[in-house]
Symmetry: C2
Subunit: 379 residues, 2 copies
């Protein structure tokens, strides 16, 4: 037992009565999953059964239904908490998760990011200004070619040298060959920076794209071979795999989460999660320190207000856990930086993707220009 946690669902319904009935249906579906008339009295009915706390109209045909649940319905583990939040109801049209209030019991059970904004900044040594994260790609290049790029961008002032989320364990650059070599390359770049008097350093974040059951092993291999953090794809590995890494004290490195495979949860208007809940709140709940999402105006269709919502959800003071770094990617150019900095501010990680490759061998210039653009804007 303990104080209840609350989920706010956007419910699509033609009337308040219908919304009320749908909310009562969600309260059943997400817990006992049996008809109301056969819910056992006592503990099951009083504690376990979801409770509709409030319903109010939100717009034409839309209502906000707040439903509270017992921490006992989730038990100790994240998969079942997510199952209570939106397991079966994810399969019913016209229901979207729009709010989550963990309450004190679950807030203690799921403390969130180990590093958060302040922790990642400390690791880079960059006290102010947006973080720059060039992406090492494409898949298919040799370890040697990838390492060359990693060294160049590290030397040029990258804060995070992030591997593409598509670098997994392909024959062209197998995981266990790639990680030590790229870590060395980033270290070389850092050594030159330090020699030049730069107090900041680049962090190397390899991608953990191997088997889910090997994730912890792969993460420790990365750590032991020089990684400063890791990239993980919760849509493919599960949010709980991210959570396992974040809560493993002996691992203790920052984690960047990538939204691949999760798109359907936000793209549909009447199912899934709001952008802020999925790419802000749930990422914080699972323990990510940095949450990647597609920037507006690039090749993905997120709007400016959806990106603002994600940013607020990542950095809001009310948790879950520490504020984390939103990390927009796509459509990043030096000329857009004044505009983008107004939205994302300095406590963001700016991903520099494929466009950077247009610089060819002078890829370091692309990183330096972005650094100057970020530092040149007063936030």
């Amino acid at each position: 037992m303990g104080d209840r946690f609350a989920v706010t669902y956007r419910v699509f319904a033609g009337s308040l009565d219908e919304a009320q009935a749908r909310a009562e249906g969600i309260a059943l579906e997400q817990t006992v999953e049996i008809p109301r008339n056969v819910v056992p009295s006592g503990y099951v009915e009083d504690e376990i059964l979801g409770r509709v706390e409030a319903i109010k109209p939100e717009g034409p045909g839309r209502f906000r239904a707040e439903i509270s649940f017992s921490p006992d319905s989730a038990g100790p583990d994240l998969p079942q908490l997510l199952n209570v939040i939106f397991g079966n109801s994810s399969i019913q049209k016209g229901i979207k998760v729009a709010g989550l209030d963990l309450g004190t019991t679950l807030s203690a059970r799921f403390p969130g990011a180990r590093f958060g904004i302040a922790g990642v900044r400390r690791a880079t040594g960059r006290r102010r200004g947006g973080l720059v994260a060039p992406v090492i790609k494409p898949m298919g290049l040799s370890v040697q070619d990838l390492a060359l790029t990693a060294r160049r961008v590290a030397e040029a002032g990258a804060d995070i040298v992030k591997e593409d989320h598509g670098l997994a364990n392909q024959p062209s650059a197998p995981f266990r060959e790639r990680i030590p070599r790229l870590a060395d390359a980033v270290a070389e770049g850092n050594a030159k920076r330090m020699a030049a008097g730069d107090p900041t350093r680049a962090l190397y974040f390899p991608n953990l794209g191997g088997p889910t059951t090997a994730l912890l092993n792969d993460a420790f291999f990365a750590k032991e071979n020089g990684a400063d953090g890791v990239l993980i794809i919760p849509g493919l590995q599960g949010f709980d795999a991210l959570h396992a890494l974040a809560s493993d004290e002996s691992f203790g490195l920052p984690i960047m989460a990538h939204p691949a495979f999760l798109g359907a949860h936000v793209l549909s208007e009447d199912t899934g999660f709001t952008h802020g809940i999925l790419l802000g709140t749930l990422m914080r709940l699972a323990g990510a320190d940095i949450s990647i999402f597609p920037n507006y105006g690039g090749r993905f269709g997120f709007t400016q207000s959806e990106c603002a919502e994600i940013t607020s959800a990542c950095r809001g003071p009310d948790g879950p856990g520490r504020p984390i770094l939103p990390s927009p990617g796509g459509g990043m150019s030096v000329s857009r930086m004044p505009e983008l900095m107004r939205l994302y501010g300095e406590d963001s990680t700016y991903l520099l993707g494929g466009g950077l490759l247009n610089y060819g061998d002078r890829i370091g210039d692309g990183v330096r220009e972005m650094r100057q653009a970020l530092d040149g804007v007063d936030t």
Copy 2:
């Protein structure tokens, strides 16, 4: 290298030219994820880059684009294969995965279900007729109460005694207390059946709702304590966790997959996967022997044709791997069985959910009536 695999995307576009451009975009996005002009020549361009093989109109504003990919882009593991199939493109509106042809290289790498329809039938001893799977619930009941229900339905002729997907590790019925007790209860029911001359037996499928990193441990605990199979939720644990279990020879029990948390992937018309691909093809690819989905006409909104599509995708002769059992649940009643049997036939697992609890202490009667209904219809 090896022969390429092919994904068919439903692309929403205003013209064939636009569809062609979108398809070329997917081919880039899902592999190199860099602009076309900077794709390195040689191996990356010739082998790794996705290749648009064909585009044809499908309907107003809809096209089918077949794109082939190199097995090298996926490497050895399922997460990266799924990432190539629909990682970043999942975040772009107007793209839905509608077909998957693994080719011979990946078919050998991902052999699919260990048991399939024939293997699960062998384990139950029921050679003909639909399988009946009552669900043990609700969460919040004690182990003792859950065990009582399990014994009753096993004795009454259940083929699979399936735990509710919401039974995880809650304090009312912790995983490690619950599994041995329910396994014993099912064994008691089976002993009475055997004594009565019944050649079939009930299989006990507990739910693995614990931490993802403990999944293999939990699965082996279940096996060692009398489980005959397991239930897993790939939307929460990841498809690769299912795959790890299915491909672990020393585990070697059948696996039932539950669609919780996956709804958004099929509910939206213009993103995610078709019903057949998600709940048939991908479940087979990952190694499920039984795939649960919401029956039409129940409280979920799937249509009859969507359920038929899932059923065909589960049982089609062309793989991936062995044909598996579709498992409709929701809205199952004796009176609907003639109709449902016409759609699902005998090679299906019919889930009996919360409605069964209306029978109270006579829950066995509900199972027996369903058994008679299934046996009474000539398929």
